[in-house]
C-alpha cells in the first residue's frame, strides 16, 4: 500500500517536472519585446538587428513590436487586460507596474556588471520600495533655446539668466513686431508637465515636499501666476499657450524663426540643424533663485515576471546593455547616456555638450511614485486652463493637489 502510494507520488512528481520543463521551454522559446518608437530612422533597425544577434546567440526567438508613443499606453494596457504581457517593455513610466507586482527586480534579471554600470541618479530614478525595477534605457535633458538673430535685433547681448532678464528679453523680442513672439510656452496636453516642472523648479518649488504632494504650494502658485501673466498681462507668448502643444505648436513656431526663446531638447536641435533656417543658441534655463535647474527625463526598460522567462530576458537585457550596443543606439537617436561607460564614450561629442553640461543640474519628475502616473496626466489635461484669459492658477493647482493626494492614498 505504502509502496504504491510512493509510486504514485513519484509519478506525479515526474510528470510535474516534465510539465514544468516543457512549460519552461515553451515560454523560453520566444520573448515578446515592446519598444517605443523614438524615430522612424533608428528605432526599428537597431532593435531588429539586436534581436537577430540575440536569436543567433541563444536560439530564442524575439517577437519585436515597435509602437508609436501615441498608442503605446493603450496597447500595453490591452496586452495586460488580455493576460498577454510583454517580456520586455520600454516606457516612460514603471512605478505602477512595479506596484502591481508585475516586474522582476534588478537582482533577479540583470547581471551585477550591467547594474553597476548605471549612473546613480538613474538607478535612483527606477527604484520602487527600495528595489530597482525600472532600468534606464536612455535619458534626455531639456535646454533653453534662443534665436540669435532675434535676440541681436532686440538689442540683447545674450540669453537671459534671471526671470527679470527673461521677461525683459521676451518683451523686447515681442516688441519687434511683424508676428514675432517673445517666448513660446506650450502648456497644452501633450507635454505640459515637462514645461511646468522646469518653471516650478527654477522658482524653488517642487512636486512634493518630503513624501507628501505639494503641487499647490505658495511658490508654485506664484510660478503659475507668472506664466499666466506672460500670456495675458505682458502678452509675450504665442496665442493661447494653454492650448498649444510642444511638437506641432511651440517647436514649429521656433523652427519657423518666429520665436525668440523656447525650451527644447536634442531632437529639436537635430531638426533645426537639418533645416538650417534658424541660427540658434543653447543655454541654461532662466532661474528666479540663482541656481538654474533643468528637467532630465529617464525612460525605462522593464522585465515582466512570466513563468520561465528569467534566463532569456536576462540575456537579452545584458546584450542591450553591452556598451557598444546601448551607446550606438543612444547616439543615433540623439539622446543622452544612462551608463557610466556610455557617459565616458559620449562626453567628447560637441553636439551633446550643452545637455551634458546641464545634466548635473537636471532633476527628474517623481516617476518613482506610482501616483505620478496619474498626476502627470492630470497636469497635462488641466494646467493649461490656468493660463487662459480668466484662468485661476491657484484654483487649478488646488484641484491638482487634491487629485494627487487622492491618487496617493490609492483611491
Amino acid at each position: 500500500m505504502s509502496g504504491r502510494r510512493r509510486l504514485v507520488a513519484l509519478a506525479v512528481t515526474v510528470s510535474m517536472a516534465l510539465a514544468l520543463t516543457a512549460c519552461d521551454r515553451g515560454a523560453g522559446a520566444s520573448i515578446k519585446v515592446v519598444i517605443a518608437d523614438y524615430s522612424k530612422e533608428h528605432t526599428r533597425p537597431f532593435w531588429q538587428a539586436l534581436a537577430e544577434t540575440y536569436t543567433k546567440q541563444t536560439g530564442v526567438k524575439v517577437d519585436l513590436q515597435v509602437i508609436d508613443w501615441n498608442t503605446i499606453d493603450q496597447q500595453v494596457s490591452t496586452m495586460l487586460q488580455n493576460n498577454q504581457p510583454p517580456d520586455v517593455l520600454n516606457l516612460n513610466a514603471f512605478a505602477s507596474y512595479a506596484k502591481d507586482g508585475l516586474l522582476h527586480p534588478a537582482e533577479d534579471i540583470l547581471s551585477p556588471k550591467t547594474k553597476d554600470d548605471f549612473l546613480d541618479a538613474f538607478t535612483r530614478g527606477g527604484e520602487f520600495r527600495g528595489k530597482l525595477y525600472g532600468f534606464p534605457i536612455l535619458s534626455s535633458a531639456r535646454a533653453f533655446f534662443y534665436n540669435r538673430a532675434l535676440l541681436a535685433k532686440a538689442g540683447l547681448a545674450g540669453p537671459p539668466g534671471t526671470w527679470d532678464e527673461f521677461l525683459q528679453a521676451a518683451r523686447k523680442i515681442q516688441a519687434l513686431g511683424g508676428g514675432t513672439i517673445g517666448y513660446a510656452l506650450p502648456l497644452g496636453p501633450e507635454e505640459a508637465q515637462a514645461e511646468w516642472s522646469i518653471w516650478m523648479w527654477n522658482n524653488g518649488g517642487d512636486w512634493k515636499s518630503g513624501e507628501a504632494w505639494a503641487i499647490n504650494s505658495d511658490r508654485n502658485v506664484q510660478t503659475l501666476s507668472f506664466l499666466a501673466d506672460l500670456a495675458n498681462k505682458h502678452k509675450v507668448t504665442q496665442v493661447n499657450p494653454g492650448k498649444t502643444n510642444r511638437t506641432d505648436g511651440a517647436f514649429q513656431l521656433f523652427k519657423d524663426g518666429k520665436v525668440g526663446m523656447v525650451m527644447g531638447f536634442s531632437p529639436l536641435a537635430a531638426q533645426l540643424d537639418a533645416e538650417g533656417k534658424v541660427d540658434y543658441g543653447i543655454g541654461l534655463m532662466p532661474s528666479n533663485t540663482g541656481a538654474s535647474v533643468t528637467l532630465g527625463v529617464e525612460d525605462y526598460l522593464m522585465a515582466f515576471k512570466k513563468k520561465g522567462n528569467q534566463e532569456s530576458v536576462k540575456k537579452f537585457l545584458d546584450l542591450y546593455y553591452q556598451p557598444e550596443n546601448i551607446t550606438r543606439w543612444i547616439t543615433a537617436e540623439g539622446f543622452l547616456p544612462v551608463t557610466k561607460s556610455g557617459l565616458r564614450q559620449m562626453s567628447g561629442n560637441p553636439k551633446l555638450r550643452p545637455y551634458l553640461d546641464a545634466l548635473p543640474n537636471a532633476r527628474l519628475a517623481p516617476t518613482t511614485d506610482p501616483a505620478w502616473d496619474k498626476v502627470k496626466l492630470d497636469v497635462q489635461q488641466n494646467i493649461g486652463l490656468a493660463v487662459q484669459p480668466g484662468g485661476n492658477p491657484k484654483q487649478v493647482l488646488d484641484q491638482l493637489q487634491k487629485n494627487a493626494t487622492a491618487a496617493a492614498s490609492g483611491r
Binding site: 500595453v76 493661447n240 493649461g384
Partner: protein, 271 residues
C-alpha cells in the same frame, strides 16, 4: 460580433489597475461613478450638438448635391469622381490636414479670409472655445457628404421618369414637383442616409480627436473621445469606467436611431 460586446459589458463590470491588470468584479459601480463625473453633462451636450448638426447639415447639402449630380451635364463623371476623394482619403489624414488649414499662424483659412477682407485679425479656430465645435462640425460635414450624396443619388436614380412626366402634365411647378414627387419617393434613401450617418458621426473619433488634441480638459469632447481619455489620457486612467461609457454609448445610439425611426413613422401615419 457578439463576443466583443460581451467582453465590453464584462469589462464595464470590472475594476482594472492603471496598468490594465484585472482586479476583480465590482458590479455596477463603474456606472454610478460615470454618472458622477463632472464633465459628463458637457460631453453629452457636445455629442448631441455634434451629431444633430453634422447629420442635418450633411443631409441638406447632400440633397442639393445629389440633385445637381443627377442632371446631365458635360464633365459630370469628373465631378462625381471628385466628390469621392474626401471619402477615399483616410479620416486621420483629412483631420490632420484640417488642423493645418485652421492653424492660427500657418493656416490658409486665416490667410484667405484676411486677404478677402473678411477678417481683420486671425482667429485661433481650434483654440478659441467659441469656434472649436464649429470647426469640427465643418470637417464632419465635409467627410460625410460623399457617402450621403451617393446614397441619395442612388435614390434619385430609382425614381421612374414617368412620374415626373405626369407631374408636368398636371402643370406642377418645379418646387411643387420636388416636394410632392421627389422627396416622398426619396424617403427610403433619406432614411438610410440619416440613420447610417447618425451612427457614423456619433462614433467618429479621428476628427474630434485631432482637431481638439491641443485643448486641455474635456470642454469639447464627445462621448467617444471622452471614453478614450477616461481610459488612457486623464488622471482617471480607468479601463472599467471607460468600458461602462462604451456600453452607454452603444445603448444611446441604438436608442437615438429607434426614436428617430419612430418619429419618422409617426409623421408618415399622420400624413
Amino acid at each position: 460580433m457578439l463576443y466583443p460586446a460581451v467582453l465590453l459589458v464584462r469589462a464595464s463590470l470590472s475594476q482594472y489597475s492603471i496598468t490594465g491588470l484585472y482586479q476583480g468584479a465590482v458590479g455596477a459601480r463603474n456606472y454610478g461613478r460615470l454618472a458622477a463625473q463632472e464633465a459628463l453633462p458637457t460631453v453629452v451636450g457636445n455629442t448631441v450638438v455634434w451629431v444633430v448638426v453634422v447629420v442635418a447639415v450633411t443631409v441638406v447639402i447632400s440633397l442639393g448635391l445629389a440633385q445637381f449630380l443627377n442632371l446631365e451635364f458635360p464633365g459630370r463623371r469628373l465631378v462625381r469622381w471628385a466628390l469621392i476623394v474626401p471619402w477615399a482619403a483616410s479620416l486621420v489624414m483629412t483631420a490632420k490636414l484640417f488642423v493645418w488649414i485652421y492653424d492660427y499662424y500657418f493656416g490658409i483659412l486665416n490667410h484667405a479670409l484676411r486677404t478677402l477682407g473678411l477678417l481683420d485679425r486671425p482667429v485661433d479656430w481650434l483654440g478659441d472655445d467659441a469656434t472649436v465645435m464649429g470647426a469640427m462640425i465643418a470637417v464632419g460635414v465635409f467627410v460625410s457628404l460623399p457617402f450621403t450624396t451617393y446614397v441619395l443619388l442612388a435614390g434619385l436614380a430609382t425614381i421612374p421618369g414617368e412620374v415626373y412626366e405626369a407631374a408636368r402634365v398636371d402643370g406642377a411647378s418645379a418646387w411643387r414637383t420636388y416636394r410632392s414627387v421627389t422627396l416622398p419617393l426619396l424617403r427610403p434613401a433619406l432614411l438610410v442616409a440619416t440613420v447610417l450617418n447618425m451612427i457614423y458621426v456619433f462614433n467618429s473619433f479621428p476628427i474630434v480627436w485631432a482637431l481638439n488634441d491641443r485643448n486641455p480638459g474635456f470642454g469639447h469632447d464627445t462621448t467617444i473621445t471622452y471614453m478614450y481619455k477616461i481610459a488612457f489620457k486623464s488622471a482617471l486612467r480607468d479601463v472599467g469606467l471607460s468600458a461602462a461609457l462604451g456600453v452607454v454609448n452603444v445603448v444611446a445610439i441604438l436608442l437615438a436611431v429607434f426614436v428617430y425611426l419612430r418619429a419618422v413613422r409617426w409623421r408618415e401615419q399622420e400624413a
